[in-house]
Subunit: 242 residues, 2 copies
């Protein structure tokens, strides 16, 4: 149940715009968190909701960026395609994350929904105008950009140094941490084996074999489909760390 409606009874506050930000599912996690009520109302006026079904692409590598926004629900991949057609996923966007590239004319990546997703988007130029008059928001953007940079660099260590086993284990732990908060030890991967490979720099077959091997060693269970059960988190962590 990744998708969840952002809407509450619209007539609760008839003087405000419908679908108020203050009932937003990611109100506390997104960049809007620190904004005043008034600023939030202003921001709301330039934003709109977008629904993406799995596989739909919102931004293309090299194309003009017209949109930026917040992920409300679902999951998206940030990816680049190499010359030979193989794809590298360079990041994931979860609910509460900010996507797009403010203050840049062109996108450097594709942005594509992995699962059905809901976003709250703004025209890039309108958003830039809003940021110019709200310093707190620019600070939020900076904090997020720095966090994203840290995340990207942590991933670079994985891509540069880790074995297939370490990579797969690390990814599972990462996902479990972000998805599995509710369900203690089982979750549903929001991507195919191929997409896991695209993320880890591995062939699909290697991912499949490695998952099988992790299952055999008792670290995880694979109940079927894309479900994963973390059987022995400490063992998994041990594998991930090398």
């Amino acid at each position: 149940m990744l998708f969840q409606s952002m809407e509450r009874s619209d007539d609760e506050r008839p003087c405000r715009a419908r679908r108020s930000c203050r009932y937003c599912a990611v109100r506390q996690k997104a960049i809007c968190a620190g904004l005043s009520e008034d600023a939030l109302d202003d921001l709301q006026r330039i934003g709109r909701k977008v629904h993406l079904t799995a596989g739909q692409t919102l931004l293309w590598d090299g194309a003009e960026i017209s949109l930026v926004g917040n992920v409300l629900a679902g999951m998206l991949k940030i990816s680049k395609v190499a010359q030979d057609g193989r794809e590298q996923i360079v990041g994931l966007a979860y609910p509460g994350d900010f996507v797009g590239r403010p203050f840049g004319r062109r996108s450097a990546y594709d942005l594509t929904a992995l699962a059905d997703s809901e976003l709250c988007v703004f025209s890039r130029t309108a958003f830039e105008g809003f940021v110019a008059s709200h310093n707190a928001l620019e600070h939020q953007l900076l904090a997020r950009a720095l966090d994203d940079l840290d995340g990207a660099r942590r991933w670079m260590v994985l891509l540069g140094q880790a074995t297939a086993r370490q990579r797969v284990a690390s990814l599972l732990l990462d996902i479990a941490q972000r998805l599995g908060c509710e369900r203690r030890d089982e979750f549903c991967l929001p991507f195919s084996r191929q997409q896991m490979g695209d993320m880890l720099g591995l062939a699909m077959e290697t991912v499949s074999r490695t998952l099988g091997s992790l299952q055999k060693s008792g670290a995880i269970g694979l109940p079927g489909g894309r479900r994963v059960e973390v059987r022995d988190a400490s063992l998994l962590a041990e594998v991930a760390e090398g």
Copy 2:
């Protein structure tokens, strides 16, 4: 001649602090570029120069960050060490680049001089205070963080998808672009084969062999030492792109 003095005749403007920012070699490239004269003077009061000899480390992974600053001359590596002791270089800092992590207590990387380097550093907290009262600077920081993120993600594609040949060729082109602007086709690598490997996720021996192979195919020359001559830039680019 990576090192160059930032100082001019100090008594030109006796009413200003010595070693004025306005004579700084990276005045136009660093985050300070957009600042007013007055703001620049304020910033200068909280900054100081630091000289690092090759191999010296300024920030440690996991340690408190006390410093942030601009690179004036030289070159530094941003790196992380994996559990097995192998190092991954996740970024390079050239003159004009900003280093350190404002608004974060701990560094996520080591920051180490590759060549003798000169920096203009600030106490992190003092710098944060300065940023709080200068929005233009925060905007500069954001722009840089987003550019660094783009760079890191481009590198991730390399680490995830490229062959040894592609990686080495890409690195050479990258370096040539940033160092070789003056000398048209020859430059001196500021790092060892091992460090190239640390950057590319390759063993030192593979780097050495690949360089030899690129020389044999006529793309580059290796006059000796760490010198590299780009003989056929378009061939090199072709190799890099796959």
